[in-house]
């Protein structure tokens, strides 16, 4: 399924390639069409890889957060990572940073937002329900950064900067290059491996903090590790793709529907389904109309009804 969608996506686009040409090139290294390697390697491939990483990462971050917060309605931006990254990007665009500068600023502000949420919850939430405090702190930091995004939009130059900010906030994979993937990939791998390894412990957390502790899980440490990993990978993806919602909320449900709630299988399943979903939606984004539709918009348009379908299916199966 993954391979088929990758091949399909490689052929699709403004400069159409035939599957047979592509396969001949891949297998023999020779090509009838001289522009095929250029199109494939410089334009299509980075974008395909970018879509796979972005979709997969948002899906596992969402899955991990849903497990951690014991709530299937949670998405990766619950602790404010997207708002933080969004503010970072709009700040950098307003200050006319380079593309790399924008991405770095987005990345750091994404992480800052999460650490701020963690920090605030630690201070105010000493004796209260820790998870509730964390969610509320996340909401507060998210709200602050959203206000700052609006501020940036308000003061940004409405002819040159504002459209850029708006476009970034809508999310797109159009600007992805191999250089960015080279930077992001190690971060993503670094953040993903601990989550896969801690899958079983994440299961045990489903019964809540006290029971998980009694079953021998150091819940505080586990929570910090998962939050750090999930934020790291989300921030690294968001900084190159812009804000893309929904994937982190719907795909975990879809994956749970496929393989059940055990995170050992659920996390890999979420990664794969997220990747494929993102790739296919991105294909639509770049080829449905002559003008590219921003990915974020399309995902919400497709994602919202899909989510309803999953929900109605799943209540019947009642997982």
């Amino acid at each position: 399924m993954l391979i088929v969608s990758v091949l399909f996506s490689a052929c699709l686009g403004r400069y159409p390639l035939s599957v047979s040409d592509l396969l001949t090139y891949l297998l023999t290294g020779r090509s009838v069409d001289t522009s095929l390697p250029t199109v494939l390697l410089n334009v299509r491939l980075p974008r395909i890889i970018g879509a796979l990483i972005a979709g997969g990462v948002l899906a596992i971050a969402g899955t991990a957060y849903q497990g951690l917060f014991r709530n299937p309605m949670v998405s990766p931006d619950i602790l404010g990572v997207s708002s933080g990254a969004g503010f970072g990007a709009s700040l950098a665009i307003t200050l006319s940073f380079s593309l790399i500068g924008i991405q770095l600023t987005a990345f750091f502000f994404g992480l800052i937002a999460v650490f701020l949420a963690l920090f605030v919850s630690r201070i105010i939430g000493k004796h209260h329900d820790k998870i509730l405090m964390l969610v509320l702190s996340g909401m507060v930091t998210g709200a602050i950064f959203n206000a700052l995004i609006s501020l940036m939009k308000y003061i940004a130059d409405s002819d040159s900067k504002l459209p850029d900010i708006t476009f970034w906030l809508m999310g797109s994979l159009a600007n992805i290059s191999f250089d960015q993937i080279k930077v992001v990939l190690p971060l993503v791998i670094m953040g993903t491996i601990p989550m896969f390894l801690l899958g079983w412990k994440l299961n045990v957390l489903s019964f809540g903090d006290e029971e998980a502790k009694a079953l021998g899980v150091n819940t505080g440490r586990l929570r910090v590790i998962i939050i750090c990993c999930a934020s790291l990978i989300t921030a690294s993806v968001v900084c190159i793709s812009g804000l893309i919602g929904w994937v982190g909320l719907i795909i975990p449900h879809f994956a749970r529907f496929l393989v059940g709630p055990n995170h050992k299988f659920l996390l890999p399943a979420a990664f794969l389904s997220g990747s494929i979903f993102m790739l296919l939606v991105d294909d639509v984004a770049r080829s449905a109309t002559s003008l590219e539709i921003p990915l974020g918009i399309l995902i919400s348009l497709i994602g919202a009804p899909l989510f309803l379908i999953f929900l109605s299916k799943s209540t019947k199966k009642s997982w």
């Binding site: 497990g67 014991r70 709530n71 299937p72 004796h127 390894l197 801690l198 899958g199 079983w200 412990k201 299961n203 045990v204 489903s206 019964f207 809540g208 903090d209 006290e210 029971e211 502790k213 009694a214 079953l215 021998g216 899980v217 150091n218 749970r256 059940g260 709630p261 055990n262 050992k264 009642s318 997982w319």
Partner: protein, 263 residues
Amino acid sequence: MVKAMKLEIKNGAFGYPGKPILNDVNLELNTGEIVCVLGKNGAGKTTLFKSMLGVLKPLSGSILLNGRPVEHWDRTQFARLVGYIPQARSLPFPFTVMDVVLFGRTAHLSVFGSPGKKDRIIAEECLELLNISDLKNRNFTQLSGGEQQLVIIARALAQQPSFLIMDEPTSSLDFGNQIKIIRQVNALKNNSLGIIMATHSPDHAFMCNADVVIIHEGKIWKTGHSDTIITEEILKKVYGVDVKIRSLGNETECNRLVCVPTV
């Protein structure tokens, strides 16, 4: 043979900051003993248990497992020795009964491990022991309260602890299952486990021939063997109802005391 171990509380005060619930608690539980905790709703039984588990920090005093303060124990090491059967539970995801019982094996796994074949065999044995093997592949969230309770007990058994802290293990169980659990508790005691159990039925303490701790007005009011501690006056004082306590001495099968409330 299990090594003799001890879980003890010295001058403990438990509860929440600014809102102490229990004071002056001294208690000792050895392996091979059953202690029943009696007290009316809201007396602080669950608070006591959460404190013993190290989930709730004691306001003062200390809780020692084998002489070492509970808060100094590594959670995994502690969980290998002390199992917990909580009162209420909610599970947001549809895990199977087998998965839930396997959760009990967590303390025996490596940091990044997940249960293997050996753990499955142990889990199946625990289900077998409680006669609920047929629930194995069912969705835990769809079971009845009583069935869930049995699964949670199986989970605690899979943990293979030396101590069990049971917070009303028989609540929401039908008459037959209640008695089965009490029998199981007695069998576990004979296997050298130390069990502390909250219960609302004084009869359970008689059935287990257990030591009793009565919590009343924020303190441990009485401790001692059930036959001497559980009296008509004490039950009247704790629960506010009239009870007759009679001996079934001439019944060879159940030679013990029983409580009969007057209605």
